[in-house]
Amino acid sequence: MATLSRRDFFSRFIPKASEPEVTSKETAGPKVAIIQGRFCLAYQNSFCSVCKERCPESGAIVSERGIPRIIADKCTGCNICHNVCPAPTNAILMTSPPENHSGATPTDTQPAHPFF
C-alpha cells in the first residue's frame, strides 16, 4: 500500500484527488516562514487557518484564538504555507532564519484590532 509522506500529503493536500496546483512553486532554501500580520486574513478577524492546517511540521505553526504564529525553530522552510496562503497579498514571507527564535517581526504580533 502506497503511503505518502506527510509532506506529500499536506503539500498536495490529499493525494489522488488532487489536481495540479495552479501557482508555481518557489524553490525551498535555507529559510523560515514568517507571517506578515498586515496581510494575513486571520489578523483582520477574517478567519483563515490554511497555513496551519497544511504545514507538515507539527508545532511549526500554532494558533491562538484563531491567529496563527510560526515557531521559527520548528519551521523547515518547506514553503508550503507560502504556496497555499490565500490572502490577497500573500501573507507568508520566506526569509533567512532570525537570530532569536521569533516567528514574527514585532509589528506583526499585534493583536487583531477592532474593526466594527
Binding site: A17, Q44, N45, F47, P86, F116
Partner: protein
C-alpha cells in the same frame, strides 16, 4: 496606527487582487457621488456592488480598467461589512476570468455540444415551450437577481399558467420560510445584523458562521477584541472553527435539537421564568394537526405546558446526549431578563426532515422568554445565497407563491397579480407547481410512467451537483431521450454535462442587478464590464424566449389588451425591443422590472426602496418608508414600534400580519421525532455534508480562483481519529463511504478543520469530482419540502479492505 494597518491592508488588497479585464458602465445615468473621490489617478474607476457569494451581503468596491475588473476592496461605506471581506470576497473579481468561461450557445447534437447562434437557441427553447407549455419548468436560484427572478416568475405564472417554477432555495431556506410564516404570519426575520452588536449571548444552532458567514461572525469577535463581553454558545453535532471561539460547546446527537429546544421551554415553564407579560400580550399557542400543516391547530398555554411536561433536562439528555446541567444552563439564560440573546441558525436547522418544526421551536423559546423585540434579542435565520431572501422569498419564485408574499392558492392574491400584470382574469393557475424535489423527480421519470415535466430550464444554479440522491433526482435523465435540459451557465458544471442546450450567461458586474440579503437588505449595482464572447444576461434570455413565443402566437405571452407581457419603454413611453440583444441596454431594463415588482411589495409591508434610493445606498432594509422629513427610511427592526413605522402608535410590538389576526405571534409545540434514516448495524455512522470557507457552494466560481483552489483543493472525509483507527485509516488514506444510495472514495483528513464525534463523519459538497450528493438521502420536511443533507446512515471502510456490507449481503 491600527487604522494605518487597515488602510494599508485594503490598499494592497486592491492592487493584489488585480485580475485581468474594461470599463463600460452600462447605464451612466447615475453617479455614485460618494465614490467619485475614489477615482484614482491610475485610471481605475471604482463602483459598488454586493459580493457575489454568500447571504451575508457584504459590499465590495470594484475597480475597473479597460473593460476589466482589476481590483476589489471591501466597501467601507457598507454597514454590513465596513470594509472587511472574507477570503472569497477578496477574490470575487476572479470569478469572471476562469479560462473555461462559456461564451457561445451550444446544442447537443449526436451526444456532443456544438456551437449554435443565439437566434437558433431561442427558437429551440420557444419550440419546446410551445409544444408542451404545461410541462415546461424553470429551476432558478437565490442567485438570480431580483429582476431576473421576477421576469422568470411572470413568464411561468403569468405567461404559461403552470406554476412550475422553483428555486434552489428550496434546498436551503424553505424551512426558515415556513418557520417565519407559521410564527409571524409573514416571512423573513424581524431582527437584523445589528442584533449581533447588541446581544450578550449568541447561540449558534448547528451553525458554523466562522466559515459560512465569516464577516458576520467577525462582527461579534471584534466586539470581544474591544473588550466587550459576549458569550458564545455553539450547539452542534461536530466541533468546527466556530467552536474554537465559543464559551460553551454542546454536542447533540443529530436530530435531537428538537428535544433541546423543548427542554428549554420546559424549564421556562417549570421555573416560572417565562415572560408572562410578553406571552399574554403578544402570543397564541399552536400545535400540529394530525398530518403536518403550515398553520396547524389552535392550542392553549395549559396544553402547551402539558405537552412539554416530559422534556425534563434528564429526558433531553437521554435523547440528545447533552448533559442535563447544560440544558439547565440554557434554561437559566433564557429565563433571565437582564441579558439579550440572539439565536443564529442556517442549514443545520433548515436542512432537516423536521426543519419547519425546529424553526418554530426556536421562535417559540424566544417568544416564551420574551427574548424578542429588542435589539440583541432575536431569533435570526441566515441565508447562504446572496439573494435567497430578495429573489426566492420576496419575489416568491417558489412553486406555490406569487410576488410580495402572495400565494397561488388564494383567489384574491391571484386576482391581485392578474390586475398588476394586466392579465385576463383566471390566467394564473390556482394549483401550485412542482416543488424542487418533485420537479426533478418528474423530470427524471419516463414520460410514459407519469414523468410530466418534459423540459427544465436551469438558471443560475447547479442542480446536477446539489440535489440530494443525485441518481434519482438528476442523473436518471441521461436515459430519457424525450426529456430536454436547458442550462444557463457561466462555466461547465455537473449540470451542463447532461444539458441538451447550454446558454452562456453574463454574471455579476457583467450585468445590472439587485440582490436581497439575509437581513432584508436590498442591494443594487450596475453593469461595469462586458461579458465575454456571446454570453448574455439571464433576464434577456427569458424576455427573448417570451417574445419569440409571443411572435408564435402563444396566448399566454399577451396581456389582456393583446400586448407583450414584458413592456420595456423609453423616456417617451414607446416600447423598446429589448428582446433584441442590441437593444437590451438601450434602457435600464432592470430598473423597469424592479419598479414593476416594487408594486407587489406593499401588501405585506415589504416595501422595497425606490431604485434611485438603492443606487445611492449600500443596501436598504425593507420596509423602506418615506417619512414626514421627505426622506426614505429603512427598518432595521420589524414589528417593533421604535423602528417599524407600520406598527400602530402605542402598541410597542405588533405582529401586523398575525395568523390569528389579533396582532399576536404563535408559539408552537412540536415534538422530538427520530430522523427518517438513522444509523443501524449495516450503516453505523451519521453522514453530514456542508460547506467550507474557501468555496462557495458547488465551487463552480471559487474553484476557478487559483488562491482559493490551492487553499482548499478538493473534498475530503472528516472523521473521528478513534473511528479512523478502528478502520485502519490514517491521514491521507483513501476511505470508501457507502450509503444505501451509492458509494464514493475520499481521502481522510483527521484533526483538520472540523472534529466529528465518534460515530459521525462529515464531507464537504463543493467538489465536482467527488459528488457526495450521490449518497445523500433526499427525504424532505413535510411542510417546507426541504431535504435533509445533514444526516443519513453510512458505512466507512478503508479502500482495499473488504466491504463490511458484503458480509451481510453475501
Amino acid at each position: 496606527m491600527m487604522n494605518m494597518n487597515r488602510r494599508h491592508f485594503l490598499k494592497s488588497t486592491a492592487l493584489a487582487a488585480a485580475v485581468a479585464a474594461a470599463q463600460q458602465r452600462a447605464n451612466g445615468n447615475y453617479e455614485n457621488t460618494e465614490l467619485d473621490a475614489a477615482l484614482a489617478s491610475d485610471g481605475v474607476k471604482w463602483d459598488k456592488a454586493p459580493c457575489r457569494f454568500c447571504g451575508t451581503g457584504c459590499h465590495v468596491r470594484v475597480g475597473v480598467k479597460d473593460n476589466k475588473v482589476v481590483a476589489i476592496q471591501g466597501e467601507q461605506l457598507a454597514e454590513v461589512n465596513k470594509g472587511l471581506l472574507c477570503v472569497k470576497g477578496y477574490h470575487v473579481g476572479g470569478i469572471l476570468y476562469g479560462k473555461d468561461r462559456l461564451k457561445e450557445p451550444m446544442l447537443r447534437k449526436n451526444g456532443k455540444l456544438e456551437k449554435i447562434t443565439w437566434d437558433e437557441a431561442i427558437e429551440v427553447i420557444a419550440k419546446r415551450v410551445y409544444d408542451k407549455p404545461s410541462e415546461f419548468a424553470i429551476y432558478g436560484s437565490g442567485q438570480w437577481t431580483i429582476p431576473e427572478g421576477y421576469a422568470a416568475q411572470k413568464f411561468i405564472k403569468g405567461g404559461l399558467s403552470n406554476n412550475h417554477i422553483d428555486p434552489n432555495a428550496r434546498l436551503c431556506m424553505a424551512s426558515a420560510v415556513t418557520g417565519y410564516l407559521s410564527t409571524h404570519g409573514v416571512d423573513e426575520p424581524a431582527g437584523c445584523y445589528d442584533d449581533l452588536d447588541a446581544c450578550d449571548v449568541m447561540i449558534m444552532w448547528g451553525n458554523n458562521p466562522a466559515e459560512m458567514h465569516p464577516v458576520l461572525f467577525s462582527r461579534v469577535i471584534d466586539r470581544r477584541t474591544k473588550g466587550e463581553e459576549v458569550k458564545l454558545i455553539d450547539i452542534g453535532t461536530r466541533r468546527t472553527r466556530t467552536t474554537e471561539y465559543s464559551d460553551e460547546y454542546l454536542e447533540f446527537r443529530p436530530q435531537s435539537d428538537l428535544a433541546i429546544a423543548n427542554g428549554i421551554a420546559h424549564l421556562l415553564i417549570k421555573n416560572g421564568t417565562y415572560d408572562k407579560e410578553f406571552v399574554s400580550k403578544f402570543c397564541n399557542f399552536r400545535k400540529d394537526t394530525e398530518s403536518p400543516s403550515l398553520f396547524g391547530q389552535a392550542s392553549t398555554f395549559e396544553e402547551y405546558s402539558q405537552l412539554l411536561e416530559e422534556y425534563t433536562p434528564e429526558h433531553v439528555e437521554a435523547i440528545s446526549g447533552v448533559p442535563a446541567d447544560k440544558i439547565r444552563m440554557l434554561g437559566d439564560l433564557f429565563g433571565r431578563r437582564d441579558i439579550r440573546i440572539t439565536s443564529l441558525w442556517c442549514m443545520g436547522v433548515n436542512q432537516h426532515t423536521r426543519g419547519t418544526n425546529m424553526n418554530r421551536l426556536l421562535h417559540g423559546i424566544h417568544m416564551l422568554s420574551g427574548h424578542f423585540g429588542k435589539p440583541g434579542d432575536a431569533p435570526t435565520s441566515l441565508t447562504g445565497q446572496p439573494s435567497a431572501c430578495g429573489t426566492a422569498r420576496e419575489v416568491g419564485t417558489l412553486a406555490h407563491a406569487l410576488p410580495g408574499g402572495r400565494i397561488v392558492a388564494k383567489d384574491d392574491h391571484r386576482a391581485d397579480c392578474e390586475k398588476l400584470w394586466n392579465l385576463p382574469k383566471g390566467r394564473i393557475n390556482a394549483k401550485p407547481g412542482y416543488h424542487t424535489m418533485k420537479m426533478w423527480e418528474q423530470f427524471c421519470t419516463a414520460t410514459d410512467q407519469g414523468g410530466d415535466i418534459n423540459t427544465v430550464w436551469v438558471q443560475v444554479t447547479n442542480p446536477g451537483h446539489t440535489l440530494p440522491h443525485l441518481k434519482k433526482h438528476f442523473q436518471n435523465k441521461k436515459n430519457l431521450k424525450d426529456k430536454f435540459l436547458i442550462v444557463s451557465e457561466v462555466y461547465p458544471t455537473a449540470t451542463t454535462k447532461l444539458a441538451d442546450l447550454v446558454l452562456p450567461a453574463a454574471m455579476w458586474v457583467e450585468k445590472n442587478g439587485v440582490f436581497g440579503n439575509s437581513e432584508r437588505r436590498t442591494q443594487q449595482w450596475f453593469k461595469m464590464v462586458d461579458a465575454p464572447g456571446n454570453a448574455r444576461d439571464d433576464c434577456w434570455m427569458t424576455i427573448a424566449v417570451a417574445h419569440k413565443l409571443y411572435e408564435m402566437g402563444l396566448e399566454g405571452m399577451k396581456d389582456k389588451n393583446g400586448n407583450f407581457i414584458f413592456n420595456i419603454v423609453d423616456e417617451s413611453g414607446s416600447t423598446v425591443p429589448v428582446w433584441e440583444w442590441k437593444h437590451y441596454y438601450d434602457v435600464n431594463t432592470d430598473e423597469q422590472l424592479y419598479n414593476e415588482y416594487r408594486e407587489f411589495t406593499f401588501m405585506k409591508h415589504k416595501d422595497v426602496a425606490p431604485y434611485d434610493e438603492l443606487v445611492k445606498a449600500r443596501g436598504l432594509r425593507w420596509p423602506v418608508v418615506k417619512k414626514e422629513d421627505g426622506k426614505w427610511h429603512e427598518t432595521p427592526f420589524r414589528f417593533m414600534e421604535f423602528s417599524d413605522s407600520y406598527v400602530e402608535k402605542g402598541k410597542g410590538l405588533q405582529f401586523y400580519h398575525s395568523v390569528t389576526k389579533d396582532d399576536k405571534a404563535l408559539i408552537w409545540f412540536c415534538p422530538y421525532e427520530a430522523a427518517t434514516e438513522e444509523p443501524d448495524s449495516e450503516f453505523p455512522v451519521w453522514l453530514c455534508t456542508g460547506r467550507v470557507l474557501e468555496h462557495w457552494h458547488t465551487g463552480s466560481m471559487t474553484r476557478r480562483i487559483p488562491q482559493l483552489r490551492n487553499a482548499m483543493p478538493h473534498a475530503y472525509l472528516e472523521m473521528n481519529p478513534e473511528d479512523a483507527k478502528e478502520q485502519g485509516l490514517s491521514n491521507g488514506d483513501i476511505a470508501i463511504i457507502e450509503t444505501r444510495r451509492g458509494k464514493i472514495e475520499l481521502p481522510v483528513w483527521l484533526d483538520g478543520r472540523g472534529h466529528p464525534p465518534r460515530g459521525s463523519i462529515f464531507v464537504p459538497f463543493f467538489d465536482e469530482n467527488l459528488l457526495i450528493n450521490e449518497l445523500t438521502l433526499g427525504d424532505i420536511d413535510p411542510i417546507s419540502k426541504e431535504p435533509d443533507y445533514k444526516k443519513c446512515a453510512a458505512v466507512v471502510y478503508k479502500k482495499g479492505a473488504p466491504s463490511p456490507l458484503s458480509k451481510s449481503k453475501g
